[in-house]
Symmetry: C2
Subunit: 121 residues, 2 copies
DNA sequence: TTGACACATAAGCAATCGATGATATATTAC
DNA sequence: GTAATATATCATCGATTGCTTATGTGTCAA
């Protein structure tokens, strides 16, 4: 029971190109496993269903996706939250960003804790 | 000759916590291998010199650091450029960013090609 | 030139990863 | 009920990773 949750790190989760491709698919909104599976096989790489399912498990472990059951399908959707760790990490290289981007990274640094979605205020 | 350059992907390079710690050290500027090595051993994790050197090799392979020789020392410095791929990737999840951050990601998308350092204009 | 120093590379090994085939679980249809 | 569908998990395996020890290479000092 520890094979899939070995490293729940976001950095590890996004290190794999197939997993990034899955997340990319989910930008279009909720999708069933079979829909994503077909798309990945067609547009990225041939692989078996279990292999694909295990990638989904890694993404779940990292909190990068959430699942909702509907009949015998499972609808996956993308969750941005864990990527905030990545954004924060990249952002603290402030000094190396171009000046315009600097504004952003500064904003991130000042954020309450992490970047939380809140009113425009 | 393929052990260390197996996967030159930035995503892979930053997936390792020790390597992220090394980059973090380099935010303070150029450093010798021994200085970084000591710091990592003290503040992060005990490891041997070759292990450390191999992490540096991965970072070099990803273009995340540059090296300059000075006497018998090697001075490493951080290079932001490869991280732009990460920024770009995260940024294209525009729809999921909070509104303020949205401005930034939009800026990135419109950038010439990648985000290049240029005058404030 | 000999030796110490700073660092990289090589070789070998255990742990982890990602893939596969087989199987389990849950839901719907008949 | 049984069968088909949708997805997850198990067991296993080869490839890759990261570590260690041993050794190589370049530079300074004597």
């Amino acid at each position: 029971m520890s094979r899939l949750a070995a490293d729940a790190s976001v950095f590890h989760a996004i290190a794999d190109p197939t997993r990034r491709a899955i997340l990319d698919l989910l930008r279009e909104g909720e999708q069933t496993v079979s829909a994503m599976f077909e798309a990945i096989r067609k547009r990225v790489r041939k692989m078996t269903q279990p292999a694909f399912s295990q990638h989904l498990a890694v993404l779940r472990g990292a909190g990068l996706v959430s699942v909702r059951r509907e009949g015998r399908h499972r609808l996956y959707s993308f969750r941005f939250a864990p990527l905030e760790e990545v954004v924060d990490w990249v952002a603290h290289y402030e000094a190396f960003w171009s000046e315009k981007l600097d504004n952003l990274s500064r904003y991130i640094d000042r954020s309450p804790k992490r970047v939380k979605r809140k009113g425009t205020s």
